[in-house]
Symmetry: C2
Subunit: 182 residues, 2 copies
C-alpha cells in the first residue's frame, strides 16, 4: 500500500470533520499487526511512546482528543505474563474482561483489547481517576497477511525479534467525560 | 476554501481509520452554516435527503455507521414552530433539552442540537426504538462569516430565501447499540 501524504509535519491536511477515528479491527489489522510484522503502515499517525514513562496527562497530544501510541509491554517479572504498568504518580490497572477483536468479514480472531484505568498513588491503595487506556495486542502473526512486497530484510527482522515484537501493543488513551447513553 | 477531492464517486479515498467524524461545532460552522449561506462546503459528504420521507432503516447509507443528512424542517401547522416528523411507520419525538453549540475559541453560540428518538406506530402511543437522530440548526446567520468571495447571486439567494434556509437542518442518524460508559 502506498504511503499517503495526508499527514505532513505532524499536521493532518484533511477537510474539517475528517479525522483518525479507527475501529478496533482497523487498529489491529491495519496498524498494530503491520507494525509487528515490520510492514509499511498506511499512515504515520501513531507515535512510539513508552506509555508508562509518563503520567497520562503528560503524554504527548491533545488532551481533549483520543490519543494513539505504540508501546512495548514490559514484563513485571521474568518468565511471567504480568505487565508492569506503574508510572511516576500512579499505575494502570486492568478492568473488565478482555475483548476479542475479530474481522468483520470472516470473523477471524486477530487481536485482544484490554481496558485499563489509571489510579493515583501506590497499588493496591491508589485512587481511581477518569483516565482510561485501551490496550490492543495481536493474537497471532502466523496467519497475518501483509500486502508489502517480499523483502528478505523484513522477513529476517520478523523471525529474529518475534517475541519482542509480540509484546508491542497499541494504546488508545482517553479521558472519560460523562455517561453516554448511545 | 478549495474543494478537496477526498471523495470521488461517493467513495472516500482516505487511509484506513480516517473517516468523517465531526464535532458538533464543525457540523454547524463548517457544514450547516455554510450550506444555509450558500457558501461552498469543504467536502461533498452530506447528501440532501428528506429524513421524514422514509423510515430510518430505509434512509441511504451504511446502517452500522453514523449517517449525515441535510434536510428541511417542515412546519406541522402554518405559523407555528412545531415540526412534522412523521414517517411511514412511525414518528420522531424530541427527547431531553436542546443543547447549545458554541465555538471552542470564542464561546459564541452558533447552533442548537436537539435529540430525537424514533417511535413505531401512531403518536402518542408509538413504541420507542433504538433509532436516534440529532438535529442541528443554526441560531443566527447575521454574524456568520463566510470565506467565499463576494458573489451577488449568492447574496441575493440568501436574502430571498432566508426563512426557508433557516429551516434547513443537519441530521445525524445513529442506531443505539448499548450503554457506553466512556
Amino acid at each position: 500500500m502506498e504511503k499517503l501524504s495526508f499527514v505532513k509535519n505532524g499536521v493532518l491536511r484533511l477537510p474539517p470533520g475528517f479525522r483518525f477515528h479507527p475501529t478496533d479491527e482497523e487498529l489491529v489489522v491495519q496498524y498494530l499487526r503491520r507494525k509487528v510484522l515490520a510492514c509499511p503502515l498506511p499512515a504515520s499517525i501513531i507515535p512510539e511512546v513508552d506509555v508508562c514513562k509518563a503520567d497520562p496527562w503528560d503524554l504527548p497530544g491533545d488532551l481533549e482528543q483520543e490519543r494513539y501510541f505504540f508501546s512495548t509491554r514490559e514484563a513485571k517479572y521474568p518468565n511471567t505474563n504480568r505487565s508492569n504498568r506503574a508510572t511516576i504518580s500512579g499505575y494502570w490497572k486492568a478492568t473488565g474482561i478482555d475483548k476479542q477483536i475479530v474481522t468483520s468479514r470472516s470473523n477471524q480472531a486477530v487481536g485482544m483489547k484490554k481496558t485499563l484505568v489509571f489510579y493515583r498513588g501506590k497499588a493496591p491503595n491508589g485512587c481511581r481517576t477518569d483516565w482510561i487506556m485501551h490496550e490492543y495486542r495481536v493474537v497471532s502473526t502466523e496467519t497475518a497477511a501483509c500486502n508489502a512486497p517480499p523483502n528478505k530484510k523484513n522477513q529476517t527482522q520478523v523471525n529474529c525479534h518475534i517475541t519482542l515484537l509480540l509484546s508491542l501493543c497499541l494504546y488508545v488513551l482517553v479521558k472519560a467525560k460523562s455517561l453516554i447513553l448511545y
